[in-house]
């Protein structure tokens, strides 16, 4: 183990020897704490650095912000050194900013807490030297105070103002004798300088640590003294600047009353602070200002004489009045006259504008009040208009200023507004009556009457505007009625209403509403046809669900109204073709049920019941199928075959020889009797090479029919293509017997090579039921003997 450790240590030494930067390891070690400057020593000596070599030294970080690491050494110019957060032996390192500025023997770096250790790096050494280095961790505020306090104190002292003139003004120094403008400029310059110092102090103050304020830290106490002195000097200079400023404005405005009037707020501001100034200075300012106040009234009258509008007069008559008092001068009469005019004019303008605003508000309210105002709406409006009238100045007179253009115009405008209000009141009174009637008509949904009333009062344009929704409301009302009729299934009335709506031209603004109306008509038409279609479909579906498979009284089923549309359309805005097309479409749809779906499904269902148990009402079921079959116009061959199977009068095709074909013989008499007449038919369509085919036809009969053949002829009539077949001559109809398995043979039966060969057999039977027979045809052969 020991050998192993030695080996590792050896390797480390070798690796270290291979590094580009040599590490300087101070003894004692670098300590990260706020303290005074501490020497960096290699034990008791300074470190030596050689040219061409590179070095690094570690400085631990402090646990707080706003800290500088100050490295002060003797060879700042002979080496290239810097501080970095991340050391790289290849030299790729970011240099931290050195903020030492005016201190050439220092390197100053602002530390933070981004890394635990900073590296001081020496990249280059000019020549081998011994490094005399001190380091110090210190807060920035302290560093600044320590490095800036002397300079700032010096600035304060050099910008402090001389108080002589200030104190002498009004005592032994007049405003006229004082260099007001020069003093003002000087004071302002000083204020700027002092405020710059104050700004730097505030920056330092911003980074004071939390517990410094009540401490006795020297640096902090130094800062406090400087700061207080600075504040006092700035306050004085600003006060002095105000005094100088008003004196300067008075002086500058002499011969320019307008300019003087403009500075009135500054004069008033000064007088408000009079307690802060020496009495001499206050008195001197009163003297020079009051001497100027006589210029104001003429100046005002001149301005008013040229005023051509009725806007409020924007002249500071009130401030002038205040300035009279502040300057200790009694008001001039001329000033009072013009001040009163200005006051009266402005009050009248305010009343007028208020009335106008009220009228506008009323009109806006009418406009924004929406449709269908209540009966009291216009009465309320009129009360407010009366108030407006009352708020207007009743008599307008401005004395000697009455001829001023602005005064004259104001009077005219007041009169015009009064007349307008009166006129509006009259019209709104009429509107109140009209609204009352409209509301009455509306209750009765008599929109045409409303339209007539409004048209008769068309001069009340605001009403038209207010009832601009009337046309739409009329549409809505008619639409609602149409909807109600549609929902109640009153298709005829609904259609009539739609037709009326289509023809309706009686609107307040037909041009504006026509497109919407036409669109609405189309919508209702569409809804009507959809409703008719849906109702027809629902009705037929319900009918079919209820009657599918019904085999009794089938004729009546097909006469049911369900096979007709719930309503036959007679109107369409699209014209007769649209009507015809729709009627045809719905009728085609229903006919699809009448002549396809209903008979088809009924036939299938009844046939299923029929074959499942032919003995149970078999005849009725078969007849039901036949009756349904009469209505069936589809092309489903299977359905047609089912019908044919159960219709004894439809000949069953026999297309192949020797195969027995089962078929049903059914009674054809309407009701069951003692002897019921049965029929079955076959159509011999067997392909044959013979030119004149002949067949033996074998008929397997039910035993109950054939059993009696020994006593009487079992059939009543047999025909071939309508010609009666008789058991005579060469023609033989053999009797069905038990011995021949109740099979009757008809031979030889001559048939047509092409076309139908209908063999019909009729027989009587006492039962009224479905009988099954099997028929086979085959070619007879010639025999030798």
């Amino acid at each position: 183990m020991r050998l192993k450790n030695l080996l590792i240590a050896g390797l480390l030494i070798v690796c270290t020897a291979c590094a580009n930067y040599k590490t300087l390891e101070p003894k004692p070690e670098i300590t990260a704490r706020e303290a005074d400057y501490t020497a960096v020593l290699d034990k008791d000596k300074n470190f030596k650095v050689k040219d061409g070599k590179k070095y690094k030294m570690e400085f631990p970080a402090l646990p707080q912000d706003n800290t500088y690491l100050v490295i002060q050494h003797n060879r700042r110019q002979g080496i290239d050194s810097y501080l970095t957060r991340q050391f790289d032996d290849d030299g790729n390192m970011l240099r931290m900013e050195d903020v030492a500025q005016d201190f050439p023997d220092r390197e100053v770096y602002q530390l933070d807490r981004t890394v635990p250790t900073f590296f001081w790096v020496v990249d280059h050494v000019d020549e081998e030297v011994e490094l005399d280095i001190d380091y110090r961790y210190m807060p920035i505020w302290r560093y600044r105070i320590e490095t800036r306090s002397a300079t700032l104190n010096e600035t304060l002292q050099s910008n402090t103002v001389d108080r002589t003139d200030y104190n002498a003004l009004g005592v032994n120094l007049t405003a006229e004798a004082m260099s007001v403008s020069a003093n003002l400029s000087d004071v302002r310059s000083r204020i700027d300088n002092l405020q710059a110092v104050q700004g730097e102090l505030l920056e330092i103050e911003a980074i004071f640590p939390a517990g410094i304020r009540n401490s006795t830290d020297k640096a902090y106490l130094s800062y406090q003294t400087l700061s207080n002195d600075l504040k006092k000097e700035i306050a004085f200079q600003q006060q002095y600047e105000t005094l100088l400023d008003v004196l300067d404005k008075e002086k500058q405005s002499r011969g320019n009353t307008r300019m003087f009037a403009t500075a009135i707020p500054d004069f008033l501001n000064f007088f408000e602070q009079r307690s802060a100034y020496p009495q001499g200075a206050v008195t001197e300012v009163q003297r020079v200002v009051s001497g100027r106040l006589g210029e104001i009234a003429p100046y005002f009258e001149d301005v008013l004489r040229n005023k051509n509008d009725i806007n409020p007069i924007d002249l500071p008559a009130d401030q002038v009045d205040d300035l009279y008092r502040a300057s200790g001068r009694v008001n001039d009469r001329s000033f009072n006259d013009v001040a009163n005019f200005i006051d009266q004019f402005n009050r009248d303008v305010a009343s007028l504008n208020s009335a106008k605003a009220s009228m506008k508000a009323i009109e806006d309210e009418i406009r924004s009040s929406g449709s269908w105002p209540s009966n009291s709406f216009y009465a309320g409006i009129n009360r407010r208009i009366s108030q407006v009238e009352n708020s207007l100045p009743r008599r307008v007179s401005y004395g000697r200023y009455s001829n001023y253009t602005c005064a004259r115009k104001l009077g005219d405008e007041i009169n015009r507004v009064r007349r307008s209000a009166s006129s509006s009141r009259t019209r709104y009174s009429r509107a109140a009556d009209v609204v009352s009637q409209i509301n009455s008509y509306r209750t009765a949904n008599d929109y045409p009457a409303i339209r007539r009333l409004l048209k008769n009062n068309s001069d009340l344009g605001f009403l038209i505007t207010q009832y601009k929704e009337l046309d739409r409301e009329s549409l809505r009302q008619q639409g609602a009625e149409i909807n109600r009729l549609l929902e109640s299934g009153d298709w005829a009335s609904a259609e009539s209403k739609i037709s009326s709506l289509y023809r309706d031209r009686d609107f307040l603004d037909y041009a504006a509403i026509s497109r919407e109306k036409d669109s609405q008509v189309k919508q209702y038409e569409e809804k009507l046809v959809q409703s008719i279609e849906q109702a027809s479909k629902d009705r037929i579906s319900a009918f079919i669900d209820a009657n599918q498979g019904n085999f009794n009284n089938v004729d009546a089923l097909y006469a049911n109204e369900a096979f007709d549309p719930v309503h036959t359309l007679s109107f369409s805005s699209g014209g007769p073709n649209v009507v015809d097309n729709f009627n045809k479409r719905i009728r085609d749809y229903l006919n699809g049920f009448k002549h396809d779906e209903f008979p088809k499904t009924s036939i299938e269902k009844i046939y299923g019941m029929f074959t499942a148990n032919p003995r149970d009402q078999g005849v009725e079921k078969a007849r039901g199928i036949v009756e349904h079959g009469k209505q069936y116009k589809g092309d489903n061959r299977r359905i047609k075959n089912l019908v044919a199977e159960t219709n004894p009068l439809i000949a069953k095709w026999i297309t192949k020889p020797k195969n027995y074909r089962k078929m049903y013989a059914l009674p054809v008499n309407k009701r069951q009797g003692k002897a019921n007449e049965y029929v079955f038919r076959i159509n011999l369509r067997i392909p044959s090479d013979a030119k004149f085919p002949v067949y033996d036809v074998n008929i397997k009969l039910p035993r109950e029919v054939a059993d009696k053949a020994g006593n009487q002829q079992w059939y009543t009539k047999m025909t071939m293509n309508g010609k009666i077949l008789k058991n005579e001559g060469r023609f033989t109809i053999t009797a069905p017997t038990k011995a021949n398995n109740y099979e009757c043979q008809i031979t030889p039966l001559q048939v047509k090579k092409t076309g139908n060969n209908i063999l019909e057999v009729r027989f009587n039977h006492d039962a009224f039921k479905v009988l099954e027979v099997s028929v086979m045809a085959q070619r007879p052969i010639m025999k030798r003997n």
Binding site: K658, K691, M776, Q778, R784, N785
Partner: protein
């Protein structure tokens, strides 16, 4: 009694004894024999697939040949018996399975010798029936086409004239048509055609080798003899044909015991000399002969033929023929038990009244009883007949009747002529006997209208071809003036040509068709066309009455309806004393 009287009596007795002895000595011993007379110069030509003018020819088919199945009879009617085949089965797809009998010997397997009427039959080399023989026979029938009734019967049933097999079980398979349910009886009926050995000449005049109940013995002098097939179950040993010049002596010879079976009497009537039931018994069946007067279309135009047809009153002729109402009336009986029902034998159409086509009203003849317009007829109508080719008795009688002015109204000059005259067509009309006609579906029109007008031979002049539609049709060459009794000439242009061509078409259609409906329709069309063309007068049929010697057991002989008289010959037996 005086001595003279006694001597006379003794003389008579001696003479009687001598006569009896001579009669016994010279009379034939017909025991164990079936002896049938025939016209010497009309030797039967035996072809089991073709009809012949000589009725006996067709009857002998039953003697010599067998089919896969044989049609026989018992007291209840027709029965089908195994012949050369055995019915096995019919499949759902109508394949008929027949097992061929492997042990059936052709007659040529035996060595037959005759010495003084003694026939000795010895086994020779076995020549056994095989499928090859059946194949040969089917091919021959197919080649014969409509000339052979077998063609019609077979072609109506099978898809082709061929079969599959035989397999290891010697079973063959016929594909039957799918248009009917084939019963076993139907199948046996269809397969009842007679089978010839494969080495036979396809176009031979006579076929003598069969497998039937009797084998042919080489003719001795003028006699054709047949001997019992040793392999069969035939009861009687001999069938001999006895030659005669004509039929005028048949009844006498029969009474004299020179033969014991008379298949047809002159006039078809009962014979007064054969009335003894102890010696003879009769059996009737349906007519197979009718008399007709055929008109020469080269000498009589259609108008004349129509008037001549009216002139020939067959009822009058019939009554005269049977001497009805006279003491010499020729009495008749039929197989249905009717007697003297002469009117039933009158024919109003080329289809005899006994035939299926008239009987079943397929053809509805309408006798024209209006008076003939003699003005259009020649002054003298030459009606001829040959009395040397059978039916001498009947022809002689008929010629005499025809010459009677009451019958021929002085216009008919009837005469017996030579065969040469007939060959040359030297007649206005000719009296012929149509022998061996069948009243079944298979009534033969060729025998009447396509027969070469030469009684010394029998030739049917049918020429067929396949038309553009692929149909087998008759060529007009079938009817030329010199090759038929009516001297019809289809190729020759003329006012009647179209009708004659139609006549030929319908005749061939009738004979060729294997569908009943077609057969019936063509029968109607043909009858109507023939009536329009007025080619003859079909007089009447001759009753078919056979006499048998009571040597035979009457109950062993079953003749039924329309079947050949000899179809059950193997069952005939002699009467046994109880």
């Amino acid at each position: 009694m005086t001595p003279t009287q006694r001597n006379i009596l003794i003389g008579v007795i001696v003479a009687a004894l001598v006569g009896a002895g001579l009669w016994w000595w010279f009379s034939d011993d017909l025991s164990n024999q079936i002896v049938i007379p025939y016209i010497e110069h009309q030797k039967p030509a035996i072809d089991p697939h073709l009809p012949d003018a000589n009725a006996l020819s067709d009857k002998l088919d039953e003697v010599l040949f067998e089919g896969l199945f044989n049609i026989s009879a018992n007291p209840s009617g027709v029965v089908y018996e195994d012949g050369l085949g055995q019915f096995i089965d019919i499949t759902e797809d109508n394949v008929v399975i027949i097992r061929l009998k492997q042990d059936k010997k052709w007659h040529s397997s035996y060595n037959v010798s005759v010495d003084d009427d003694e026939v000795t039959v010895q086994d020779g080399s076995d020549v056994l029936f095989s499928a090859r023989d059946l194949n040969f026979t089917l091919n021959r029938i197919q080649r014969l086409g409509s000339r052979s009734p077998d063609y019609v019967l077979v072609s109506q049933a099978v898809k082709s004239f061929a079969f599959e097999g035989p397999d290891n079980n010697n079973e063959i398979r016929f594909s039957f048509k799918d248009d009917r349910i084939w019963t076993e009886s139907d199948i046996k009926e269809v397969l009842s055609f007679k089978i010839l050995p494969h080495n036979s000449d396809v176009a031979a005049r006579n076929y003598m080798v069969g497998t039937g109940p009797y084998l042919a013995v080489l003719p001795q002098a003028e006699v054709s003899n047949y001997y019992r097939n040793p392999a069969g179950r035939t009861l009687l040993e001999h069938v001999n044909l006895q030659p005669y010049i004509d039929n005028s002596t048949f009844t006498t010879e029969f009474k004299n015991g020179n033969f014991n079976v008379l298949l047809g009497t002159p006039f078809g009537s009962l014979s007064p000399i054969l009335e003894s039931p102890e010696e003879f018994f009769t059996k009737s069946n349906i007519s197979t002969t009718f008399f007709a007067v055929l008109f020469n279309t080269q000498r009589l135009n259609i108008t004349q033929r129509r008037e001549l047809r009216k002139l020939i009153d067959n009822r009058k002729i019939l009554n005269r023929f049977f001497k009805v109402g006279t003491p010499q009336q020729r009495h008749i009986v039929d197989y249905k038990g009717n007697s003297d029902n002469y009117g039933d034998y009158l024919n109003a159409s080329v289809f005899p009244s006994s035939s299926y086509y008239v009987e079943e009203e397929i053809v509805l003849p309408q006798p024209d009883n209006t008076a003939p317009d003699l003005s259009v007829l020649p002054d003298s109508i030459r009606l001829v007949a040959s009395i040397n080719h059978g039916h001498r008795e009947e022809f002689s009688e008929l010629l005499e009747i025809m010459n009677d002015p009451a019958i021929g109204q002085g216009r008919i000059k009837a005469a017996a002529v030579s065969n040469d005259d007939i060959r040359r067509g030297n007649y206005d009309a000719i009296l012929v006997a149509i022998d061996g006609y069948k009243s079944t579906f298979l009534f033969d029109l060729y025998n009447i209208f396509l027969r070469q007008p030469d009684f010394d031979t029998y030739k049917i002049n049918l020429v067929t071809e396949v038309n553009a539609d692929g149909e087998n049709v008759a060529n007009p060459q079938s009817l030329q003036a010199q090759n038929n009794f009516c001297r019809l000439d289809a190729p020759a242009a003329g006012p009647e040509q179209e009708k004659i061509l139609q006549f030929l078409e319908y005749m061939h259609g009738f004979m060729y068709s294997n569908y009943i409906g077609d057969k019936q329709a063509y029968a109607r069309y043909f009858d109507e066309t023939e009536y329009e063309l007025a080619l003859g007068s079909y007089l009447f049929s001759l009753p078919s009455l056979a006499y048998f010697s009571t040597q035979f057991d009457e109950f062993s002989i079953d003749l039924y309806g329309v079947a050949s008289q000899l179809s059950t010959i193997e069952k005939w037996d002699e009467r046994r004393e109880e």
